[in-house]
């Protein structure tokens, strides 16, 4: 099915802030407060039926002067209908929190931990939000654009 993003906007109105479709990549930007409802709809509506969460990632728009600064991006896929959908949620630097999907999608557990580790975006309701790639002693979030490029935090050895 095509036009899922349009369908979402029709159903949720202003809670879907914007939609676009570039080269068949259908994308909807969801309002944070309605995010869980929209995800539930995307999963359970029998026309959309996205039963697989392929990836969660984020973009830091610091150098592009985005307001709000971060975009958390969810990629959904329907194994039955063979279509994809991207959902984005924009969050600000002061309050970088998104509801967690870990309860519904087991895969979201580690993906959210990765986004927390790299971007410092918290997932509300996550059962165990620890770093997953970096070590506990690491401070800061390395994929944020204001993390100094040459800053290293070695556990042993010289501070190179």
């Amino acid at each position: 099915m095509t036009g899922i993003h349009i369908k979402l906007q029709e159903k949720f109105g202003a809670a879907v802030r914007e939609i676009h479709n570039q080269h068949g990549d259908e994308t909807a930007v969801a309002d944070r407060s309605a995010f869980l409802t929209i995800v539930q709809f995307v999963r359970n509506n029998h026309n959309i039926d996205c039963d697989m969460l392929t990836d969660i990632t984020a973009v830091d728009g610091l150098s592009l002067k985005w307001k709000p600064r971060f975009e958390v991006i969810y990629h959904f896929y329907s194994t039955k209908k063979n279509h994809r959908l991207r959902l984005k949620v924009k969050v600000d630097e002061q309050d970088p929190v998104v509801p967690s999907l870990a309860a519904e999608w087991g895969v979201a557990n580690w993906l959210e931990r990765e986004v927390w580790d790299m971007f410092g975006i918290r997932f509300e309701g996550h059962p165990d939000l620890r770093r997953i790639l970096m070590y506990e002693q690491f401070s800061g979030h390395p994929l944020r654009k204001d993390y100094p490029y040459s800053k290293r935090q070695p556990l042993i050895g010289p501070k190179n």
């Binding site: 790639l133 970096m134 070590y135 390395p142 993390y147 490029y149 040459s150 800053k151 290293r152 935090q153 070695p154 556990l155 042993i156 050895g157 010289p158 190179n160």
Partner: protein
């Protein structure tokens, strides 16, 4: 092989103890492969029958540091795994040698970032550096021969 050459008509050879031990040691290199990344593929290619490191007496990898002589550090070393590498090195019994396999281990390679150790020689001493991304098996064999040379020449602690 030096021993053979020195064997004249008398049918016996004379050598120094150091040289004899060095000769024995350089042909019984039990390696510990510390493989973390893509260089591992090239390590396997070198270790398999086509290039056959067994010719140099290095054909038997041991997966216990206690039983090995040479630590092959193969692949990118991140700051997270660096303490593990140090610990493995500390657990090896003397005499021991270290080979840095691939540019990642030599200098950090192109991973000039928050995650990667900029050369394992910042953590443990290194005897032979084999650069390349990944190094070709010929290059690895060359490094292995250089290591043999080094083992042969050094003062043998017993």
């Amino acid at each position: 092989m030096e021993m053979m050459n020195e064997m004249g008509e008398a049918g016996f050879s004379t050598t120094k103890l150091d040289q004899a031990i060095g000769w024995a040691r350089k042909f019984s290199i039990f390696q510990y492969p510390f493989v973390t990344a893509c260089c591992g593929m090239e390590y396997m290619a070198t270790a398999c029958s086509h290039y056959d490191v067994d010719r140099f007496g290095a054909g038997l990898p041991r997966f216990s540091p206690r039983q090995s002589d040479v630590l092959f550090v193969v692949g990118t070393i991140s700051h997270k795994i660096a303490p593990v590498l140090k610990r493995i090195y500390d657990q090896m019994a003397d005499p021991k040698w270290v080979v840095a396999f691939g540019v990642c281990t030599c200098t950090g390679g192109f991973y000039d970032n928050y995650a990667t150790v900029q050369g394992i020689d910042t953590i443990i001493p290194v005897d032979v550096y084999i650069p390349g991304c990944p190094p070709r098996p010929e290059n690895v064999l060359d490094g292995l021969m250089k290591l043999q040379d080094k083992i042969q020449r050094q003062k043998q602690e017993v």
